[in-house]
Symmetry: D2
Subunit: 368 residues, 4 copies
Amino acid sequence: MSGSSFGNVLKITTWGESHGAAVGVVIDGFPAGMEICEEDIQKYLDLRKPGQSAISTPRKEADKVEILSGVFDGKTTGTPISLLVRNTSQHSADYNDIATYYRPGHADYTFDSKYGFRDYRGGGRSSGRETIGRVAAGALCLKLLEQMGIEVYAYTRSIGNVVIDEDNMDLNKVYQTVTRMPDEEADKKAIALIEECKKNLDSVGGSIGVIVTGTPAGIGDTVFNKLDALLADALMGIGAVKAVEVGDGIKVSQSYGSDNNDAFCILDGKVSKKTNHSGGILGGMSDGSDIILRAYFKPTPSIARDQETVNKNGEDININIKGRHDPVIMPRAVVVVQSMVAITLLDAMLLNMSAKADNVIRFYKSID
Amino acid sequence: MSGSSFGNVLKITTWGESHGAAVGVVIDGFPAGMEICEEDIQKYLDLRKPGQSAISTPRKEADKVEILSGVFDGKTTGTPISLLVRNTSQHSADYNDIATYYRPGHADYTFDSKYGFRDYRGGGRSSGRETIGRVAAGALCLKLLEQMGIEVYAYTRSIGNVVIDEDNMDLNKVYQTVTRMPDEEADKKAIALIEECKKNLDSVGGSIGVIVTGTPAGIGDTVFNKLDALLADALMGIGAVKAVEVGDGIKVSQSYGSDNNDAFCILDGKVSKKTNHSGGILGGMSDGSDIILRAYFKPTPSIARDQETVNKNGEDININIKGRHDPVIMPRAVVVVQSMVAITLLDAMLLNMSAKADNVIRFYKSID
Amino acid sequence: MSGSSFGNVLKITTWGESHGAAVGVVIDGFPAGMEICEEDIQKYLDLRKPGQSAISTPRKEADKVEILSGVFDGKTTGTPISLLVRNTSQHSADYNDIATYYRPGHADYTFDSKYGFRDYRGGGRSSGRETIGRVAAGALCLKLLEQMGIEVYAYTRSIGNVVIDEDNMDLNKVYQTVTRMPDEEADKKAIALIEECKKNLDSVGGSIGVIVTGTPAGIGDTVFNKLDALLADALMGIGAVKAVEVGDGIKVSQSYGSDNNDAFCILDGKVSKKTNHSGGILGGMSDGSDIILRAYFKPTPSIARDQETVNKNGEDININIKGRHDPVIMPRAVVVVQSMVAITLLDAMLLNMSAKADNVIRFYKSID
Amino acid sequence: MSGSSFGNVLKITTWGESHGAAVGVVIDGFPAGMEICEEDIQKYLDLRKPGQSAISTPRKEADKVEILSGVFDGKTTGTPISLLVRNTSQHSADYNDIATYYRPGHADYTFDSKYGFRDYRGGGRSSGRETIGRVAAGALCLKLLEQMGIEVYAYTRSIGNVVIDEDNMDLNKVYQTVTRMPDEEADKKAIALIEECKKNLDSVGGSIGVIVTGTPAGIGDTVFNKLDALLADALMGIGAVKAVEVGDGIKVSQSYGSDNNDAFCILDGKVSKKTNHSGGILGGMSDGSDIILRAYFKPTPSIARDQETVNKNGEDININIKGRHDPVIMPRAVVVVQSMVAITLLDAMLLNMSAKADNVIRFYKSID
């Protein structure tokens, strides 16, 4: 219900505006006893923060996380984990004039329509800074998933018309390029494209791919909380995402059943699949193969060109937006995508523990 | 949490397996006082039911809905509306052998992984029959939305490589073709394609488009219950959907900001947009333009060809599935898509009534 | 949110009015693989149904339950279990005149205030018949709890001023008396009191006690979903309940800490308590001792005496309610209380399985 | 689900331990546009904070609230409101030895049972400091309710055997006595009782009363989210509460229907009631009369006397708890009770806005 919470057994609640005092997240329902420290979280926040390269906004933000609760003696306690990041690099004056009009491609007009007014400084609540909370929460989930042999990889798959070669990528190199493309050649081309964009006072879209390895079969629900539906919700809930694909995605609409059906087979004594068109999910539940997702991002709406729009007095006007903006979103969004997938998957796994009566009985008999 | 419920203020809970006694839905939180009768619901169920044309499964099912509660004197009472449809055309014997193996592209293996066993008759809970509950609930939501001037259109947009001409379609003619394509020429081509599929003992994928007109601006939430995220969840939660697009969808990944940003303008004294790349949603909230969505469906996994798979003893086997199946899903799924969009939108609208403190105060002052 | 659902991991949704076609429940999230048949459920419904003795309403209702989904090969499948009971003994004509006025002590006026009108036949949605769904769901939960060594006992503790001797009761004899008092002497006195009530065209209140044995320590949450808060919600949510106590209840308000604190001790090598003033719950979590609760019921509001009230035209009037009513609620409510406690406890236990990171990791490592 | 969240349309999430860095709350779904500043919140926190009088703990805590998000230009923005209070007066060393044993009446043992270990400093998450978040959230809700003509009063009703005269109390004087008893004579007696308690190294229980005026009829739900069930959940969820009454409460169990039924009557042209045994709630919905509640608190478990208990090695031991504790809870809990009632009621009122189809249609037609 509450629009700033995500998840069920494991629930995160983010809060904060870009130019308010701080942003943060409360993580509730996280299992007790996992070792965690601020550095574990900071390393993911650092992958998200601006000012990391020539292709991202020159804003410098420290984005230092503080653990306020839920961790004791270096371990999660089971109680809500509150994480705080102070906002430090706010140039609110940059935004004074945008109070009076609606920026194209932004949520200014819809905010005013819903709430009657808005915090017009930066993106306010719709700012990318809100995702700090998601990444901080994701850091904990990724750590617990890892201990169960599950790895969540996300990577920039395309920027504009530059698409990486997914058949030859090394997922361990994602964070070695500034574009987060695990493909050095594509990285170079993309950087060139972005430079041109900047010169043109423009921005460009792109896509992020996800591969999750190690998920056991049977995670997710069969009708409404299908694992793919939950993941679609998670990805479409990231600002600027306009499309989500699972497995073969859009391509399935031109496929034939005889091609698209993945044949089951026995491999090393276990049920496996000869192909993975399904992207690791069948009937809303994980099928044991890699989970494969793609999210498609629109170009950053903040561009320095002249644009037509309207003001709050109902007049057509021309505007020219100031400020320090990213010409592409993907490099900084990769870790956000990775985080949202981790949160979604871990939540579904926690819920799944009670799926079988036998497991429930065995669990409680073992406590005595 | 519960995997068979959808929605927040307005919540639907579907239940039932394809070869059990019945399927149904409980609709809770529906506003009181709207006129409704069984015919209002039946007309939508009839659009979903099998056996309507040569291109769908020859199974005949009456799918007669019974209102069991929540309606009195011809009006909704505000209490849960329970709707029941008895299953009548079950050939369970058709399915006896599939108990022992896992059909490719189906949820058989994932069901067994999650729950330890499954109702193997038909699709069980993963059957298309589960969507009867969604369509029945959708019928009520569509009726209430209409009274607020909101129309939800869904239509078959493509079958295999046959794509309709969306620039020249008449949305009032969707249900006049057996494919549910609002384009007579494409309809003919698609029928030919389907006939060939049937001859080849194969199936084929496709896509469904959605256009919602009349939605006021400001519906939806800004971070996690974004209207587009809720709709992505709703559509990806329909069996066989593998991709969801909002507005320009995947195309935005190759767009530039200067093209993709929709300029605001004043039209007839109101804020409007010159283009609608956003698909009617900005920052998670409706922007007053048409809401535009697309869902991509994989080919029906049930095909009559020989297929490779494994059985429950862990052996590689060849199978040949019997039964009466749809070679394409889209014609019957159109009304399911339309229903899920209506449920999602109405739920978000009910929640939105308390977004402004002034409205809350005015509402309760007017009661005295 | 939805007012007809209860529970989180395990969620029940009841529906139906007293004089509609049927009443029922959908149980979602129930673990798969537990054996269940209609008789398992029917035996609890029979404890609730009217016409069982001279002290309850003479209405005869078969209340035969039908399992519509979620059970296959005699076992729960993990999918929603839909249970239906047809209404058969409706004398709707009895209620025609009450459409025009508000019965004292009933929900007639509040229903009209909330929804603008109401199903005025019988109690409509507020009828005791709604609890059929709760009892049917409770039957499943009680069965699973039993397999974990947990017994939920409920019993009539008092009727009017007749209070049982709780120090000498045999909880296995609850259902051997018509009052559901596990105390033969009190039973006789209570029957006499009820007979007098009937003669006086009056009704009388009472209370129901609950003892749960075998609950492991640590179930429940620490702040908002405290086990006692969830149980208070469950019991106060039963029609006619006006007070709920845990452990020593109201008495604690006059106790001193030195008396009220239960000393921990080691018994048979395990942590135990010397006393149980806490009623088995400390800090919102079960402490391993018996859980002790009491719910207090107001007298049935339906009495045959003349009463003052108002009609829908805003006039003061005198009324005399016809119909077949229970002079006391407790005998039939005992199994409702037992059911609600079982549902609440099992739900909390399912959620609790993911409380420790070690258990989560061990669970998923054991699946491979 | 998540154990640190409360509410549906309006949801609060509290976090923080007594001896961690801070405590706080995130309030989501609060309507936009209400004026609020830190002083509005601080004045309620000051009513809760310790060290206010000779009868409460001598700990001094500033409890200064900081608004971190969700407020702009002095008004709520509709986005989550994050409130933070730093912990400043922590004597963690006081608690080092309690790490090794389980304090009677505290959540130490149940925490260890559930999570495997605990933050043993102070009450950790079970500390009264957690209620700072509830009171801060309550401050906002009380302010909005006031603007709709609704007042929520809470007061100390009894301490030990000293009970106030509720027939002659002045609810505007609650915060003028240190006990929060709106009865000067009882206040004096209670202070004497508390002084004796302190001398005896003991603590004592008590009760808090609630009266809500001005609630319109029809708020709350009819089956599971009954207004009284939600309030019972809210009150039983406050630490130390062991019983909750609505209206006549426990007394109804000895009442007769002819006495307990409140006759409706017309007063000043409106439907009213001649008596209010129901406590303002019928069938789970407000009936327009004052809402009347009582919560019963156990004595503070922290007492300085010798007590028997067990340690983590499974040995019986004697302990003597150090620290600065309240001999009674009521004076500081009054504002917590007031807050929880306000949050619960406002949440139910926000949800209620969509109860009638006519209102929904009218609301959205008026937007155009």
